[in-house]
């Protein structure tokens, strides 16, 4: 659809095929050539994209000055792959799509990256500047569409601005609170000859962003106040979010909590900021978080939030959140402080800088032995649980098995829904940057393409993609890439024949009226995989599960594992939406 080429396209370069690459490369550079070179200058080693009429010059430039380009089967696949890549390497993922439908197909991924602060630089083609606004073929106002869902966006108006704009875009995407930056690139600008002499003169010109100076160093007085509060606390608690990961501050966080014996909990996106089996780690908090983590929040007298944004899935009813706690909030984005939860001690800083500042001071730690004892008791008393079933496999069992087979070392991507929560609960992560999930936007169809990006980023790592049967069907066309690039991604379909989380809510809050949440008719996932040249496995019984999983996961090939699990299993514990964390249900077996 997006590959249509405008009929008004002039095919002037009919002789170009006869020219050697060297001859072509000696011609004056146009905007597209300059842009591809700018990507090389930013050390971009891979781009995900899909060509089309408005980006033909760009793809031609790429042909002449090669850059590794991964052709996905849909633009949404490209952007989720770039997100997966960005998440595991903690550097910007790059995406190219054409104008109109190519660009609008990226919108979900852009919004996803925005809300989860994933650094991306996105290039979209645009119709020529003289027809912008005339409803030209494949024209869409992508600037207008993406303004609210990008950290910043540009439309290139002058070919000579390209080097500066690309430099600025990468800087904005990957600094401060990270996020997606889009560059809209009109076709005629990509064909315009670049003025090398002018560029030489402007070479020293630095990026010009007077309105963008993110603060990374913490305020000294605020650090002092935080230290005072920690010293006085009886029930301190560290809430570590994705900000710790983006700042690469796992080591500092671990050192800090070990030094002062502070219990740590995570947000969904913060998982991996401390070892999943660390003795001071009490699990994920929030709607489907550990009972002990939620209880710790409600009983704590000091919450030190490092790089989390107090999302509603974490807090439940904000008015009843952490009623006894003083709040210290460390965040690189000043707008997050006080947005959802009133803050006593705000610290606007990069998580790493703030933790370093805290570590530099030697101060009296809190006397929290009793508090830790309480938490350990609670943890032992209320672990995650499930009721084993005689006849059916439980999804949790599959995730536990995958965890033990991979020893907790795999890069794990998930889609959205029940399996995502179970993966968060049962796959205890050994490292940082090994957890790729769509948190804020909750984008179904994210998990599998994200795994492709993650595998390109970490070719030597085992990449496991837990997906549901429904979400997988949203982007499964990207299976073609596994075969094409021999990507050994292991897709584990937690197949319950339903939109599990929707079904769970309908069971609990709509008297089991399963309106449009069951999917009884499905493709044969094993045959489907084989059609794409990928090995498929099916797990029907618990007895065969371990064997099949071992064989499939230990292979060097891409695999699709269709694990048939119990349909009516629910995710517990659960804090019903809008309720206080105290109203958690399903803490104990029933």
């Amino acid at each position: 659809m997006a590959a249509n080429v405008s009929t008004s396209e002039k095919t002037t370069d009919a002789n170009a095929t006869a020219q050697t690459l060297a001859e072509v490369n000696n011609k004056p550079r146009n905007g597209a050539d300059v842009l591809i070179q700018a990507l090389h200058d930013q050390d971009v080693d891979i781009v995900f994209g899909y060509p089309g009429g408005a980006v033909l010059h760009l793809y031609d430039a790429m042909y002449k000055n090669p850059i590794r380009h991964i052709l996905t089967r849909h633009e949404q696949g490209a952007i989720h792959a770039a997100e997966g890549y960005a998440r595991v390497l903690n550097k910007p993922g790059v995406v190219i799509a054409t104008s109109g439908p190519g660009a609008t197909n990226l919108v979900t991924g852009i919004a996803d990256a925005m809300i989860d602060s994933i650094p991306l630089v996105i290039f979209t083609g645009q119709v020529a500047t003289d027809v912008i606004g005339s409803d030209a073929f494949q024209e869409a106002d992508i600037m207008g569409i993406t303004t609210p869902i990008t950290k910043h966006n540009y439309q290139v108006q002058d070919v000579n601005d390209i080097p500066r704009i690309v430099k600025e875009a990468f800087h904005i995407a990957n600094s401060g609170r990270k996020g997606p930056v889009l560059i809209d690139f009109p076709k005629n600008i990509s064909a315009t000859i670049f003025e090398e002499a002018l560029a030489e003169a402007k070479k020293e010109e630095e990026i010009y962003l007077p309105g963008y100076q993110p603060n990374t160093k913490p305020n000294y007085l605020q650090i002092q106040k935080a230290i005072q509060a920690i010293t006085e606390a009886k029930k301190p608690l560290v809430l570590a979010g994705a900000g710790v990961l983006f700042a690469d501050a796992r080591q500092e966080l671990t050192e800090f909590v070990e030094k002062y014996k502070l219990p740590v909990i995570n947000t969904l996106l913060g998982l991996g900021s401390i070892h999943g089996q660390h003795e001071l780690f009490f699990g994920m908090a929030g709607m489907h978080g550990a009972a002990v983590a939620n209880d710790a929040i409600q009983k704590s007298d000091l919450i030190i939030n490092i790089g989390a944004r107090f999302d509603d899935r974490l807090t439940g009813d904000t008015k009843l959140f952490a009623p006894n706690a003083k709040i210290v909030h460390i965040d690189i984005d000043p707008a997050e402080i006080g947005k959802n939860i009133p803050t006593d001690i705000p610290i606007v800083a990069d998580a790493k800088e703030a933790l370093k500042a805290l570590l530099k001071k030697d101060f009296q730690g809190p006397d929290a032995a009793e508090w830790l004892d309480y938490l350990y008791a609670k943890q032992t008393d209320c672990p995650y649980w499930y009721n084993e079933d005689q006849n059916e496999i439980l999804p949790q069992q599959i995730i536990e098995m995958v965890h033990s087979i991979t020893s907790g070392d795999a890069v794990v991507t998930t889609d959205v829904g029940q399996h995502q929560m179970w993966a968060a609960q049962y796959y205890k992560l050994n490292h940082d940057h090994q957890w790729v999930t769509s948190g804020g936007l909750g984008t179904m169809g994210f998990g599998f393409p994200a795994a492709i990006g993650a595998q390109f980023a970490k070719p030597d790592k085992k990449v496991i993609s837990f997906v549901g049967d429904a979400g997988f069907q949203m982007t499964l066309q990207e299976l073609a890439l596994l075969n094409e690039f021999k990507l050994p991604v292991k897709i584990v379909i937690i197949n319950n024949g339903a939109l599990g989380m929707v079904r769970q809510w309908q069971e609990l809050f709509y008297d089991c009226r399963y309106s449009q949440s069951l999917m009884p008719i499905q493709p044969d996932f094993v045959k489907l995989a084989e059609a794409y040249g990928v090995k498929g496995y099916r797990i029907n019984t618990l007895d065969e599960a371990q064997g099949i999983l071992e064989e499939a996961i230990n292979s060097d090939e891409p695999v699709v594992i269709d694990a048939r699990v119990k349909q009516l299993e629910n995710v517990y514990p659960m804090v019903p939406a809008g309720k206080s964390l105290d109203d958690i249900v399903g803490v104990k077996k029933f």
């Binding site: 600037m143 207008g144 303004t147 609210p148 950290k151 910043h152 439309q155 108006q157 904005i172 962003l209 007077p210 309105g211 963008y212 305020n219 007085l221 605020q222 984005d333 000043p334 707008a335 402080i337 006080g338 947005k339 009133p342 705000p346 606007v348």
Partner: protein, 171 residues
Amino acid sequence: MKRVITVTVLNQSGVLNRVTGLLMKRQFNIESITVGHTEQPNISKMTFVVQVADEVKLEQLVKQLSKQIDVLKVNDISEKSIVLRELALIKVVSPANLRNEMNAIVEPFRPQIIDTSKNVVTYQVVGHPDKIDAFIELIRPYGIKELTRTGVTASVRETQPIETPQLSILK
């Protein structure tokens, strides 16, 4: 509560859309907005009058605006000593026999008559929005044919009576 916010921006294409879009996304109601160049080339200043529910919302508004890449500075000047001005053009039915009477009663507002025809006169009135409201109410009985207002623009006075607390995270 009603707040007057000034936003200094880089004069890039789309910047007005960014700012108003942000206000819409975060559910702020814009009462009026004026935009124009400043003394510096490439820099424009916007003056908003917005309704905000409380201090927390206000702080969010200022912070979210500040986050925009093209925004250089955001000031909530409501608490300061400021000069607020708005301009209105009001076209009123004014038959010859009433014209003298009308001119006499509006005189304290010092409007300018900028256009007249046989039965219609157009007043230009400049001042605080309250003054313009009062002027409109005064002239309404004569029959307003057309009314247009620019929205508020504002300037902070050089001399401030007392130090006014700035909205600050260090508060």
